[in-house]
Amino acid sequence: MEALKQVTGIAAPMMRINIDTDQIIPALFLGGTDAKGYGKNLFHGSRYLVDGSNNPEFILNQAPYTKAQVLLADRNFGCGSSRERAPKALREFGFRAIVAPSFGGIFFNNCYRNGIVPVELPIECVREIVAEVEASKGEGQVTVDLEAQTVKSPSGKTYPFTAPATLRQMLLNGVDEISLTLAKMTEIDAFRSKDRAARPWAY
């Protein structure tokens, strides 16, 4: 798994509630069994015009946001479908962090497994950061530090956040979660034999 300790970069505000994973990547582009190849269809419905050309109105088509690494979003970002191609597409575009008041739960977990840290901050804090970013015409950089669990605005104002401990460790160290669990196999086997005696119908 790809590790992430901290990221500093251009931050793109997309301040709408309920941006669902169908918007992040429509089902039409979930094709294939590959782990890659989804970035070009990120936000397809808003990003491209009907003739396939870039929609100039869409923020990620506008400099400097074309190089954004941090996404600033509103409540319930990534709600809806469990499609893991949503964080994959965001990652391929270049995003390493998403700062929002809340996230769809499945998407939240999927982010960690694709090298993106989803950061929960109160809406007032997200709005303050957005205001600074917009005042700088997008040039002001935002830092998300997973190690220190802080977000730093372009002016240097620091906002603390709390990441789930296990997922944070996983992402900081880029560990392979499966190996981590396989290392506990003795415990798992012991649990399973006890459980099998109690609930044989589950096996």
Binding site: N76, C79, S82
Partner: protein
């Protein structure tokens, strides 16, 4: 986070194909094959006479074939496109007794909570999580907060489980369930047959709640008895004894309690691009200017633009292009019966496309045995093979730019096709609207 034993992993070709490929490429093997079930259902064609890899999705054939090969090679329980047990995973899992009370059941699909309707703890996961489950039959999850939704009162005729859950989402919002597991309770749930409970649990994720369930009771045990994978004989007795302990403790404390009064509940229909944008069937499109906060106002404005609606417009009488009955939400036998009762002896309005895709092949066969297919076809509905069909847009542009009234669960932008405008409602409301050619109040048909 705690590491949970996973009793059931359900795979399908859309995301299961990614998980099996990733596992194989990492040189790993599944840990517990008998606990893994695969169903071909997301991308497979719904046309009569479909072949083994027929799909409207360009990459459908490769995804179906990858999933099929891995499932056969690894010896999972495998339900192929032509298996008489085939259907949408969340319909098949309770139908076959794959899901059971207290089961931890996961699937790469956000509507996995559907099977919470039989008392399972079930939730949607990503493909990487599924790979982890394949390799370890375990998954780490953080403990959710607890919410209880009490449906009080009594349902009036023509009001269904779909209306209950849409009203709930209207009440608490599409973000109302973030971080929670939701128990559905109250007298209306107690009296609701399993199929209705499955519909309510199906839409948990539409208020951003990963887990939704109804504690098991006699209705549940009766439903599961004799199903293919349900325990039999002495093991059944032991299982029921255990399942009876899975009741909510008297005086249990929840982080949040919500009450939905069903005495005043009428059929619901969505008007916007989020399931929270819902109203009573006799309601009007709200004015975004009246929204509670700036975000809701912005969402309202965007919805009016996308849905091509004016604030203040009546929903009843709004012309539709398509009536769609299908999906893991509302395509079980009781749903088809409710729709057929409305359609019987009537005709779909000329120029309306009307499509019915049964939730599973057993549902389809049972409906045919009762003659429901004849009612649907004589009314002017297409009658398809079971699969996810037109619930999501996977390649067929048939509903592009059209207004659809649909028994599915998502009215997101583009969900059913490019610029497709989806209105969610119950099967009875969809049937009534198909006849009227416009959104209609089933109570007045």
């Amino acid at each position: 986070a705690d590491l949970l034993q996973i009793d059931r992993l359900v795979l399908h070709e859309l995301s299961g194909s990614q998980a099996v490929r990733a596992l194989a490429e990492a040189g790993r093997v599944p840990m517990s094959r008998t606990q893994v079930y695969t169903v071909i259902e997301h991308l497979i064609s719904t046309l009569p006479g479909r072949g083994p890899t027929d799909s409207v999705s360009k990459s459908g054939p490769i995804m179906i074939e990858t999933t099929r090969r891995a499932s056969l090679d690894w010896g999972f329980h495998f339900i192929d496109y032509n298996d008489p047990r085939q259907g949408i995973a969340h319909v098949v899992a309770p139908e076959m007794g794959i899901a059971f009370p207290g089961a931890t059941l996961v699937c790469c699909d956000s509507h996995t909570s559907t099977v919470g309707g039989v008392g399972a703890l079930s939730w949607g996961i990503g493909a990487t999580e599924a790979e982890h489950v394949l390799a370890t039959q375990a998954l780490a999850q953080s403990r959710p907060k607890r919410m209880r939704v009490n449906f009080t009162g009594k349902l009036a005729p023509n009001v269904y489980a779909k209306d209950m859950v849409l009203a709930l989402i209207g009440q608490i919002g599409a973000q109302g369930g973030i971080g929670y597991a939701t128990e559905f309770a109250g007298p209306v749930i107690a009296n609701l047959p399993i199929e209705g409970r499955l519909t309510v649990c199906n839409m948990s994720i539409e208020f951003s709640c990963k887990y939704g369930f109804v504690p098991p009771d006699d209705v549940t045990f009766e439903y599961l008895a004799g199903r293919q994978f349900s325990p039999k004989g002495a093991m059944w007795d032991a299982a029921v004894k255990h399942w009876r302990t899975l009741r909510t403790d008297e005086g249990a404390v929840f982080d949040r309690e919500v009450t939905v009064d069903c005495n005043t509940l009428v059929p619901q229909v969505t008007w916007g691009i989020s399931p929270q944008q819902v109203t009573s069937i006799d309601g009007r499109v709200p004015d975004p200017a009246d929204a509670a906060d700036s975000e809701a106002r912005q969402l309202g404005e965007r919805a009016l633009g996308y849905m091509q609606l004016e604030a203040g417009a009546s929903l009843i009488g709004l012309p539709i292009d398509v009536a769609y009955i299908g999906s893991c939400t509302n395509a079980r036998l009781s749903d088809l019966r409710a729709a057929a009762a409305v359609l019987k002896g009537k005709k779909v309005k000329a120029g309306i496309q009307a499509v019915c895709i049964p939730g599973s092949t057993p549902v389809k066969h049972a409906a045919e045995a009762e003659g429901l297919d004849v009612i649907f076809k004589e009314a002017g509905f297409e009658w398809h093979e079971s699969a996810c069909g037109f619930c999501g847009h996977i390649g067929d542009n048939r509903f592009a730019n059209l207004r659809v009234i649909s028994t599915t669960n998502r009215n997101f932008e583009g969900r059913q096709g490019p610029l497709t405008r989806t209105h969610l409602a119950s099967p009875a409301t969809v049937a009534a609207s198909a006849i009227a050619g416009a959104i209609a109040d089933v109570r007045k048909t």
